[in-house]
Amino acid sequence: MKPTDTKNPEYFHKVVDCQYACPAHTPVPEYIRLISAGKYTEAYMINWESNVFPGVLGRTCDRPCEPACRRGRIEEEPVAICRLKRVAADNKDDVRAFMPGVPSEMNGKRIALIGGGPASLTVARDLAPLGYEIHLYDEHAAGGGMMRSQIPSFRLPDDVLNEEVGYILDMGIHTHFNTYVSSMNEILEKGYDAVFVGTGAPRGRDLVLPGREEAGKNVHVGIEWLASVAFEHTHKIGKKVIVLGGGNTAMDCCRTSRRLGGEEVKVVVRSPFAEMKASPWEIEDAMHEDIPILENHVPKTYVIENGKLVGMTFEKVKAVYDEHGKRTLVPSGEPEVFIEADDVLVAVGQQNSFPWIEKDTGVDFDQWGMPLVDALTHQSTNQRVFFGGDAAFGPKNVITAVAHGHQAAISIDLHCSGEALTARPAPFTNLVSKKMGIHEWSYDNDVVNDQRFIVPQAEKKAALSDRKLEVELGFDIQTAIKEAHRCLNCDVQTVFEKDKCIECDACVDICPTACITFTLNGEEDDLRTRLKAPALNITQDLYVSDTLPTQRVMVKDEDVCLHCGLCAERCPTSAWDMQQYLYKVTKAG
């Protein structure tokens, strides 16, 4: 193998698994260290700069970081990264003084943002401080988009959302709420220098089966129903409720039903339980609220008696997999199942929908009705129009929408300055030694053995009787600090300097997880089998040095490195050093 090029900003970035997995690349270990030092405001601002909604995401994020966490590869559970983020948000001081100011002289450029969700708000956050005049359009009465309309208050209290949406709107954003944009041409005619579309995936799919028409108003489309609850148009539901679908929207629907009078709420999914799309913790929370989840039930008909919905019938199926792992659901032959219901909530997916973008706007769509958008620049076929969030590439999640917003803001800024959209700024990186003395580091390198701590919840009875009572209480400070100590500090890199190495093997002997091997070089596949412990996880890189005097090379398997610093402590010549790597995605301007 060729010596590893650690000058490539992505090499050490990839070692920080959580940050690498995060669409917005938030420097996770850095803010976790700040939390354990009690610096909640600083931790919040690191988050805010990167993901804009730390308080919201600390409660509702899909947490792509946690399955990636290295801790999950050396023991059972990853660090509770998401809930630590919430600790920073809950315990921070007033952060207004740290927010970027808006210049008194504007730069004369005007930007329209269609939709007031996380993607649009991120674009506003990045461009307003640069002097852009920002106009935000949303059909609802307040900003936040799906964070407000689809995430129930018992998971995300209004004041948390209002605070973080407010930080952005306070940057002099011109808001046009209760304004449904029905024509792209009208917007384009207003002469904006750029238009950003962040309208999400606003159309929930209905499920048309026999009886659907007669069932009428007792069958609700999940996201529309959630929005109607959030904006206080709907206050109750029948005692018996069926929720169709196995995603996070279904989980929000069933838990909201429990709070609006649903006593017998059942979630019914077509697939096996193990293949449900909802996050495991959301499924857990639903089941904790006495909501059974019935698997392998395919809905057949809405059953109507005396003109009124009384339930649904289901066919029982089993999953069969072919040799490629492709699943088909085949009838199990068991009799049809009837489940009673006063109301049915359909949460079987949502779609993009752009009825308001006319054909002659220059924005082209593909055969599935999705806009043609450049994956890097977010620019559509109309150079003035940019897309982000669910509107760009289909339904994902809040943190992805934020990442899109940052990139779209860069593109819009380049577009308005007349520069090439491909001339994107390189990431900010910094690599600095944590050495304080021969055996001392300015980070907490002790690896604690604690298992993941559990976030306490509000008492069930109280939670079910109040739609707005937040269920998760968040970590208390003591527990938060203990949980923060579980972080392995993967951003503190083991940096090897070949010319200093005397090949004494001290690092090889001391490494608790057998990461380091000195051996003759070879091809990667071969080298992976010849290490002290085989490097079977090919998603993790090998760090290879140049050839040493004994003709061997140093090979470090990054997979289960604890970043404990023992290699560097036992190195007599400081050929190993522990250096903190800070990687930030550069923002617009």
């Binding site: 002790d446 690896v447 289960v560 036992r570």
Partner: protein
């Protein structure tokens, strides 16, 4: 300084025949200087015992005093251990071996502990051919008392402070050969590929097995002008050949060309495989080994590898015709067989 090793280990660590990983052979975290050659030797002992699948409780570690003699704390934490008096490890090992011949005795000593204060003990344990492994972690200086020249420091070797050693060194491997040791090897702490098989062969050898391991003192004897520094040893090393130990149950396959390798069968059916032997080397000839060692010294080179092995050897128990069962398993009935047996003995003497 971190004194606690994290408890997490690599999930895919290889396992030996007992189902153990190297974790079961670890000791506590070393407090020796960072980069000390002794730590590498500890690592090699650990690796050899792991590869031989020895149950840790079947090993007794013994040592004297010095940096080297601290090391048994840093490997085989689940084995028996005795940190004895300075230079007196061989007597303690002899006593232990006499009482329980079933254990594997791993003696660890240093150049001061062996070549100075313990010289008398060293020569007698060789003479008696006690069944043990005797490893000298040889750094040519007294590291624990700030690096004075030891009795194995080469004449002309320069200390860290700049003074040149005027005295001739004691060549421990040469001395062991001279005194009739049945297994003599020499190696370098920085060459685990050589050292681990040598330790495995030494453990399997049914008599006194001596390994002199050059182990640089990274703090006091790793300077230019020293003949025991990492750089010097690497530049002046000369291997006699490649050693490997083949366990009893493995079938020997002719994996190397005939004429380049030699197999040595040990009493328990294991083989020591010697490959790529240097030209004109005969590991079964004591005179040849002594000459080769001497010649290498004259060329300012350090001869490493298995220098000499005597396969048909009789250890101390055999020589003194002691009981086959460990003394500690003999009960009163065995030790006092009663008046009838006494009468029989007396009859024999009439």
């Amino acid at each position: 300084m971190t004194y606690i090793r994290p408890k997490f280990r690599h999930p895919d660590l290889p396992k030996n025949d007992l189902g153990y990983t190297t974790r079961e052979y670890e000791g506590s975290l070393s407090t020796l200087c960072a980069g000390c050659g002794h730590d590498s030797i500890s690592g090699s002992i650990l690796q050899a015992c792991f590869e031989l699948s020895i149950p840790p409780h079947r090993i007794a570690k013994l040592s004297g005093i010095g940096c080297s003699s601290k090391t048994p704390n840093y490997f085989l934490g689940n084995s028996h251990g005795f940190n004895s008096v300075h230079g007196r490890m061989p007597s303690v090992a002899t006593g232990a071996n006499m009482a329980n011949r079933d254990l594997i005795y791993m003696g660890v000593s240093g150049d001061g502990d062996t070549a100075s204060i313990g010289m008398g003990q060293f020569v007698h344990v060789i003479r008696r051919n006690l069944n043990m492994v005797y490893i000298v972690m040889n750094n040519g200086c007294y590291g624990l008392t700030k690096g004075q020249d030891s009795a194995t420091a080469d004449a002309g070797s320069k200390s860290k402070a700049g003074s040149v050693n005027p005295f001739q060194p004691i060549d421990l491997a040469g001395l062991a050969l001279e005194l009739g040791a049945s297994f003599v090897a020499q190696s370098f702490s920085g060459d685990k590929e050589q050292l681990v098989p040598l330790i495995k062969a030494a453990v399997s050898h049914p008599g006194f097995a001596f390994i002199n391991v050059i182990s640089p003192c990274v703090t006091f004897n790793n300077n230019p002008g020293s003949t025991k520094s990492y750089d010097y040893v690497r530049e002046h090393i000369e291997a006699t050949g490649k050693t490997d130990l083949v366990p009893e149950k493995s079938e020997i396959l002719a994996s190397y060309e005939s004429g380049t390798g030699t197999e040595v069968m040990l009493h328990d059916g294991t083989f020591i495989k010697l490959e790529k032997l240097a030209a004109n080397r005969d590991p079964f000839n004591r005179m040849d080994a002594m000459n080769a060692l001497r010649n290498a010294r004259n060329r300012n080179e350090i001869l490493t590898g298995l220098l000499y092995i005597e396969t048909e050897t009789e250890d101390l128990h055999h020589t003194i015709n002691s009981t086959d069962r460990p003394l500690n398993t003999l009960d009163e009935a065995d030790l006092c067989p009663g008046s009838a047996v006494l009468a029989e003995i007396n009859e024999d003497l009439r």
